[in-house]
């Protein structure tokens, strides 16, 4: 169990306004309120566009009512489930009191990207899985929805009151030290925010032409608008963080260059960008591509935008291979690009699917077909090399494997051939080798991940690492948690060294 700052939790909880608020309703009144339902854009409307956000956000009334459900526990177990340990009851009680900007302040103490996390975190496996309501056999408080409500409220407030927003900028007291961040994805952004608040001069280096990593190139607009990510990044700029795009550490600038530039510490958060393929016959035919390529063309390069010069392959029958969140993002994108038949091809059953339940449901609502217990074994093409059909091996579940999940086993002779125009391979990623290959002294695992100690420190004392380059393919919030942990540890290390 993590060490929560119980003193601070207690101090906040015992403030008179909060005691009063807590007593204003009986627990029974609170826990008899049904959990809020997130309003969603109508299906027909949303699948006709790449940009309409599916989850529309809570109304103020909904947020106020949902906030009353929180029982304001003295030992808030929800916080233990949050990788960045947001003071959850504290922010929710500010929501109940209608003080949304104060709620935002609480969240920002420990999270640099609340509008992002409120949208893409798998709360059902994190904060909400630890909510006391679970023990009461009731649905947990909708912490993620409330976080999103607060962050969206704050962003809209800032945008409509630019002057006031400026006044509330925190200008950290610089401590004279500077740190470099390799990669501007969720791990790098979270680290950058924390270090800037601690008074470091922070330079973030990004290889692509736009900042945000997977938040920009990977997660689609209908789930996470780029404008929301951009607003969060602007908050970091306001804190004094500088971003340099088109800069590849290990290529444009070397380890020695960073040394010469006088960085006291380096945080490597270069992610796991290298797509895996299956290695089956025909996988290089035209129309077969990685989910990274497909999503990058659509999300980062705006391939279907009016003026964009980047093309994207369209088809009537689109098959997406895999069962993770990236597979759901790809298949729902295919639907929005006009596919008549958008299919998930997954070798296990629905139960084993690693994607968030919410995403699976959204995909089903939108008409995505699920071919579970199917595994591609070969692609066939037309005379120009364009993929035309795929051979699918039907599977059944056998004995549990090392992961504890029942292993899919081919059913002998059960092979079908279906027509496909576009195939998106979404079976995972490997760590990007650019940094590991071009840095001296780092210890690298056989899988290509950077090895770190429990403080996220590498074998080179001033270099820390976190996110997917350490974990392999994981989640946004775990990456953010790493960034936060690494920031605290590096601060400790650099202060002691001084």
């Amino acid at each position: 169990m993590k060490n929560l700052d119980l003193d601070l939790i207690k101090e906040r909880r015992e403030q008179p306004w909060r005691e009063e608020l807590r007593k204003s309703k009986k627990p029974k009144e609170r826990n008899s309120v049904p959990r809020v339902k997130m309003p969603e854009a109508p299906i027909e409307e949303r699948i006709s566009s790449l940009t309409i956000e599916v989850n529309q956000g809570l109304t103020e009334e909904q947020a106020l009512l949902e906030a009353t459900r929180c029982l304001d526990c003295p030992k808030p177990s929800c916080m233990i489930g949050c990788p960045v340990e947001i003071h959850i009851p504290s922010f929710i009680k500010f929501v109940e009191a209608g003080k949304y900007l104060d709620a935002a302040k609480i969240i920002r103490e420990t999270s640099s990207l609340p509008a992002v996390c409120g949208r893409v975190c798998p709360q059902e496996r994190q904060c909400e899985s630890q909510c006391v309501y679970n023990a009461m056999k009731k649905p947990p408080v909708a912490i993620g929805y409330l976080e999103r409500f607060v962050a969206d409220y704050e962003r809209e407030y800032d945008q409509s009151h630019p002057k006031k927003a400026e006044e509330t900028h925190i200008t950290p007291q610089l401590n004279g030290m500077k740190v470099a961040v390799v990669g501007s994805g969720p791990a790098g952004l979270s680290f950058a925010g924390d270090m800037a608040k601690l008074g470091y001069q922070v330079n973030v280096f990004e290889a692509l032409h736009d900042v945000g990593g997977v938040l920009k190139y990977g997660i689609p607009e209908y789930r996470l608008p780029n404008s929301v990510v951009e607003a969060e990044i602007q908050k970091l700029r306001d804190l004094g963080v500088t971003f340099e795009t088109n800069t590849i550490i290990g290529a444009t600038l070397s380890q020695e260059d960073l040394e010469e530039m006088g960085f006291d510490g380096v945080f490597v958060a270069s992610g796991a960008g290298l797509p895996n393929f299956m290695g089956i016959p025909g996988e290089n035919y035209i129309g077969v591509m990685s989910s990274n390529e497909y999503l990058t063309r659509v999300n980062l390069m705006h391939a279907r935008g009016l003026e964009s010069e980047t093309p994207v392959m369209l088809g009537e029958n689109v098959a997406v291979i895999g069962g993770g969140n990236t597979a759901m993002d790809s298949v729902r994108t295919a639907k929005r690009l006009g596919a008549k038949r958008a299919m998930i091809i997954y070798r296990r059953s629905l139960e084993e699917m690693p994607a968030r339940l919410e995403e699976v449901h959204h995909a089903m609502d939108e008409g995505v077909e699920f071919l579970n217990l199917h595994n591609p074994i070969e692609y066939k093409s037309d005379e120009n090399g364009r993929v035309k059909t795929m051979l699918l091996q039907k599977m059944e579940l056998g004995e549990p494997d090392a992961s504890g999940r029942r292993r899919p086993v081919p059913i002998e002779g059960a092979i079908e051939e279906i027509p496909v125009d576009v195939v998106v391979v979404s079976i995972g990623v490997s760590p990007n080798p650019l940094v590991p290959n071009n840095f001296n002294g780092l210890k690298i695992s056989p899988k290509g991940t950077i090895l770190v100690n429990e403080d996220n420190q590498t074998d080179v004392p001033k270099i820390f690492a976190g996110g997917d380059i350490v974990r392999g393919g994981a989640t946004v919030i775990l990456a953010m948690g790493d960034g936060r942990k690494a920031a605290a540890a590096m601060d400790e290390y650099l202060k002691n060294k001084k």
Partner: protein, 265 residues
């Protein structure tokens, strides 16, 4: 950054740009490339670094106008900026002393060949350059190549400059005349395929620099994947140079046509 400081028209469709990019100029080695985006709405396209001046902080790119992006790049003037330039990307050419090296370049591929010719010559090799083009007007860098090599043979399809014939004829002439220790070829995929076929007959180790479709250029998407010796490789991080005798050129040629057939609406 990315200010265009010099522009030269090699021919109607081939343009040389010298671009301010001090970090890339400092880090680049022969064989490296950059990804360029002409504007906010432009696509990311790969271009090999033809040469660089570290002191002035500039890199030189040679661009052939074949599509919308390259046409827009070629329409830029001195004083304009490229929106994005990122690099250096790929693995640099392995330059070593091997003896006699034949460098065969076709069309705009002659530009990326230049730093490689220069490198091998500096390393003490006898370097013979075979330049091929459709006609006289499309022959580029002939004089520059002469300065950094022992011999330049020009081949044109119509015989309007040098000798009439394909690049392979020029390469074979050298092979028949003297011992060749290595061949390096850069140009259209179809040309490299036939150079590789020829040198394989003579058992001459051959390297080709592949020109696949790319998006990010840093290994994250696999758009540029090719089959080399039966293995899947990404041109942007494992290449762009590979053992030409191991490359599946037919697959490369096929994949280069990915976006040529009109996309269904």
């Amino acid at each position: 950054m990315n200010l265009i400081v010099e522009k030269k028209n090699f021919s109607e469709k081939v343009v040389m740009l010298r671009v301010e990019a001090p970090r890339i100029a400092r880090a680049r080695k022969p064989g490296h490339f950059v990804i360029v985006r002409v504007s906010e709405t432009g696509e990311r396209i790969p271009l090999t670094i033809a040469s660089a001046n570290e002191k002035e902080g500039t890199i030189t790119l040679v661009i052939q106008a074949v599509g919308s992006s390259s046409q827009r790049i070629n329409a830029l003037k001195v004083g304009d900026y490229l929106h994005d330039v990122v690099g250096p990307l790929g693995r640099p050419t392995e330059i070593e002393k091997v003896g006699t090296v034949v460098c065969a370049g076709g069309g705009v591929g002659v530009a990326p060949l230049y730093p490689i010719v220069e490198g091998f010559h500096k390393a003490g090799n006898r370097v013979i350059v075979v330049l091929a083009a459709r006609n006289k007007d499309l022959v580029i860098l002939e004089d520059e190549m002469k300065k950094v090599s022992d011999e330049v043979i020009v081949m044109t399809d119509d015989g309007s400059s040098g000798r009439k014939g394909l690049v392979t004829a020029g390469v074979e002439e050298v092979i028949k005349r003297e011992k060749v220790d290595r061949c390096i070829t850069i140009g259209p995929a179809i040309m490299m395929k036939f150079v590789a076929k020829l040198t394989k007959e003579y058992n001459i180790p051959t390297v080709s620099s592949l020109n696949a479709i790319m998006v990010d250029g840093t290994g994250m998407c696999g758009a540029c994947r090719v089959t080399v010796g039966g293995q899947r490789k990404f041109v942007c991080v494992d290449g762009p140079e590979f053992d030409a005798h191991q490359v599946d050129f037919d697959e490369l040629l096929m994949r280069l046509n990915s976006y040529k057939t009109p996309l269904k609406k």
